[in-house]
Symmetry: D2
């Protein structure tokens, strides 16, 4: 052969990621890591449901499998973990992973209570590992464009904000048996809370008033399953925000954000699947976004790419092209949004406005892993 150069094998070793939880989002993150995140390898999958983990590994043609997350945490070849287990294990897994020296990417919410979360974040802080929370909207192209405009002052000082999540529910409302009572706040609106905090940067949420009901499936109301909610949030800068969610949007997956301020307004949110339009005797029409993993495919890839890049940079002691050591959304973001969700639950119980616990107690949650 006459090749001048045989290979530029200067690529750093890939980041080896262990996945904990092989459900809906776990499986999608696995596919992202295996196929779309440059420089990352899906090294192992842990799930008590071993068949699920094996099927996932087989479909991707890669990864070791275990029924026990501790195997991953003990594996010295693993650089970092992606936590996509049921929510009730999030905080303890974060703490264990950090103690094992693994960098942590965790699906939202990072915990079910502030106490357990603070303990987990303290472990992260103590271990000096990276922590990132899966608030993927921060990586969506339109939300990033809006944020850029907001940071540039296009809307001036925020006065009115709005964020909403309307989920098609994959065609059927999840059964109460499968969904904890306050899911709409803890797992759904927590995205909107983070978006609002991010858009209203510098201001702290002070008080919430939440209304929630079972309008889609009234028969599940008594079991505590709420499918519709509206939250009013007062911020420290005077701005008033509204977050809104529903679990049965027949027209698709509808995610929007809006900030109105002293100088104007900025909006994010994709009304149609593509730019294609059709015009017929019935009028104009277009397809709408249907699944979160379609609407946010790029965002889900990019958040993991940022995470992998930061992990690699710290591991190899080199500068990172991303925001290494200041990964966002990070610890403080995870805690702030959870505090809001918990205050909403209290507000619904009381039908009254409720103060959001300040971040004073989590002063330690800053530093390297915070934002």
């Amino acid at each position: 052969m006459a090749y001048i150069t045989q290979n530029f094998s200067g690529l750093p070793a890939p980041v080896r990621i262990g996945l904990i939880g092989s459900g809906w989002m776990g499986a999608f993150h696995a596919e992202s890591i295996a196929r779309r995140v440059p420089g990352a390898v899906l090294a192992a999958i842990a799930d008590p449901n071993v068949e699920s983990a094996e099927a996932l590994a087989r479909s991707l043609g890669t990864a070791k499998v275990t029924g026990n997350a501790e195997d991953i945490l003990a594996d010295p070849e693993i650089d970092a973990v992606v936590i996509a287990s049921p929510v009730r294990f999030h905080s303890s897994l974060i703490a264990q992973a950090a103690a094992a020296g693994k960098h942590v990417f965790c699906e939202k919410p990072a915990g079910q209570g502030l106490e357990e979360l603070d303990a987990a974040l303290a472990a992260v802080e103590a271990a000096g590992v990276h922590f990132q929370i899966g608030f993927n909207r921060r990586y969506a192209d339109d939300f990033q464009a809006a944020k850029k405009d907001l940071a540039a002052g296009v809307a001036g000082t925020p006065q009115l904000l709005r964020s909403l999540t309307r989920d098609p529910g994959n065609g059927s409302i999840p059964h109460a048996a499968r969904v904890p009572a306050w899911t709409i706040f803890l797992e759904t609106l927590i995205h909107d809370f983070d978006t609002l905090n991010w858009f209203n940067q510098g201001a702290e949420p002070v008080e919430v008033y939440a209304v929630a009901d079972a309008l889609v499936e009234p028969g599940l109301r008594d079991q505590g399953f709420l499918d519709t909610a509206v939250v009013t949030i007062r911020y420290s800068n005077g701005a008033v925000a509204v977050a809104e969610a529903n679990f049965s949007a027949l027209y698709g997956y509808d995610i929007r954000g809006e900030v109105f301020g002293s100088k104007g307004m900025v909006q994010a949110g994709r009304a149609t699947e593509t730019a294609a339009r059709r015009y017929t005797a019935e009028g104009m029409s277009a397809d709408t976004p249907r699944l979160n993993v379609e609407l946010f495919r790029q965002a889900y890839t990019d958040e993991l790419a940022d995470f992998a890049d930061a992990v690699r940079a710290q591991r190899d002691g080199v500068p990172s092209s991303s925001s290494a050591f200041t990964l966002t959304p990070g610890a403080a973001d995870a805690r702030r949004a959870l505090a809001m969700a918990l205050a909403c639950i209290e507000s619904v119980k009381q039908n009254a406005p409720v103060a959001v616990p300040g971040l004073a107690a989590s002063a330690a949650v800053g530093g390297r892993a915070g934002a």
Copy 2:
């Protein structure tokens, strides 16, 4: 370690691709192959400008380098080539690659004349290798949605079609010295011709009337550099199409398609970069798409993924998830669009309508590699 399964190493061997040409599009294709196309490996880069090839290989941390494309064609480890050389070498490289048993993905146009192209496509046919042409718009999400609607009969029988390319020219018009005189037809409008042929499926282009001028840089007119063109095309089904191009769209990269027919209209084309909108004292505004490699990033990835998948399927003798053995856009598409571009050049010279040479001569250009 307690892993139940050590690895699912069932992944087929990756498709090994050799890149010929490391210029603007070659470099972008290299990056796509190295980072975004699952199951593909950028194995080697050939460019007479060896420094360019080396810089590219280094930036991607991979690939062998040579100054001679023949090294790649002779390398038994290479499954397929991506041709991104200057246009004047396309036909001969296609023929050589096919003769060497390599599958071929070629940037448009596939040749500069019908005779050389027919020879190349005959070589492809004889070798039984795959051939795909880089008409990337077929892979853009909005153009695919429009095509799906058209195939479903949403617009009925096509009567009026439109396709346009307005290129920002990367901020400056290419110098005449760098651009062959008829670039606007051979390299730019050829995309629009293919889009129109694809949208008006089943009909053949019969006659063209082309107007072209140097409106952006009138001083270059005498050197034959034309920056603005409008083409009227009559199709065998009676439909009339208009293709339009300009090389200096200050507002960005504007690519649109429209089909009007007996039942309605279908449109493709992305007016803004993202769904974000801003509202200020100056009114409503949004950013526009700027670069082809941004607007069509996904399309450029997907066309190569389809190609790699077809190559792998044929190599391994397994069913392909894509359209193996009927890769599109393929040989017939490449030839049809080139015939239109050549007829346009003649039309400009005569200022008269000119017939498009039929595809009779290329009857052989069907079969496995065609579409």
Copy 3:
């Protein structure tokens, strides 16, 4: 002359309207009546500020002028009145006009308290005259299209509603001295309340929670001038609505409505002044609507045309082409929206949810003049 027919003078006598109040909206209504409402005549203008009334009459080249509204009420040639006086006189003028046998079109709100309003509406009922309230959004083309879809069940059962008013304030925030403290609820959000009631037809507002602040002009907060407000409303059908207002939208006059329900979503609201778009090096842009009298020019004309038509039909004892005898928005609509505004004021004072007084007390407010 050889005309076959000399004239088809079969047109009914025009409806003669007296205007009470020649301020901003009064002057605009005068112009609508004089120039754009077919079959109506601006017969007289009353305003204590006689110069203002005279200037208006002169600019329109028509109408008698008086400083005293009673002159109009006593004038037997006047069929109907349009009340556009300061709000504090609305209820008593309605009552007086009805007692004088004049049909009444009144700008919103119809009163400042439920007691005075009930008395006025009782007088309307007793006199058997028409009563219409100036909730002009019901006549805007996009709001009508949305209502039509909602009535056809396009969105299914409403679950989440939104209505907002963002007012550019004509370039400057009104001075506290000129604006009563609770203007944002009584005069601005009352439009949104009516829109929500109309869109959620059949359901009654049950409870409101309102947040209001002086964010545009914090210095006026102590004088009670509030420029920003968000209201959460619970309806009898379980639906939750949000109404939102701000007095300083620098980008223009922004009025939107949205209904999400069990089958889909319907939206109204015009984002840009016209369909024209510009694309420049700065991206895509368009002008935004600026003034209520521009955005709603047609709506302001059509509501008065409907009113005039009903008046004429009753006067002449002929069938009306519009909704005579069931004019909407009418008495019940005026009362329902006012009750909500008053409950909001109480909610702000208490920072707690407040029940909306039921319509039981106004059972008499139905019949001919109601809706």
Copy 4:
């Protein structure tokens, strides 16, 4: 009565308009004049079909009727005429009306040949009366906004222009028996030609190449009825324009304009009937504009209001608020567009580009009545 002022009867006497022709557009203009144009009166209607004229007069409750246009021209109480007769009478009616001292508003086209039109315009010039041609798109809000931007240089020097007319045909294609063979150029595309001339102000159309066919009703091709056409136009400033028309747009009445130039692009054209949008399980949808008299209702009113204002100003010897004495679109506009339509017919016959006759011969067509 205590009125301070009995009346401001300072309004000038209304402009008295005679309508010639009571067909589709004549009837609509009659309604506009009678109901929507301030300061104008529909004084008389002439139509050989007297029943049609009488029915129209009766529906509007006004106007004298005659079967003979000469009655109107001889009536000293008539200030101006609106010509909406069959096209073949336009030129002679313009000439007769001008000779009778009547101001003229004429539906397009102003004639069927340049010779007859030049004679008519010479009569207008000699009489010193106003002449306006019914190119109503100049009065559409979005086309005006685009024109304003173009005049301000937003798009720079025009390089590529587009104008299109897609007509739903009121649900059925007009029968060949009712439509002269070249209607698509003389009556439909003539609108687009004027729009392009207006948008490309200062440049003259130099050459056209037209393609036309019977695609909607192929059976009518032999009778010369063409329902689909595409025209390429070269302008004196080098810009290339495309005009396009079709007579069977099932999705509605689609009128668009686009100018691309050295600095950007400006677009006009309303894709949907209102700003309302619906989202259902089928995706996003909206109604489309259906009839010209709906889409351009305001434009049809405003063009006549401008005309009436200019007539009144000249009659009363007072300054006009509009563009009196320079009414546009005027004589030169009417002639330029007709010359283009006639050149298109020749181009179709020859299937070759054809030069547009210059305006030299019509040098006299300037002055007071021209533009």
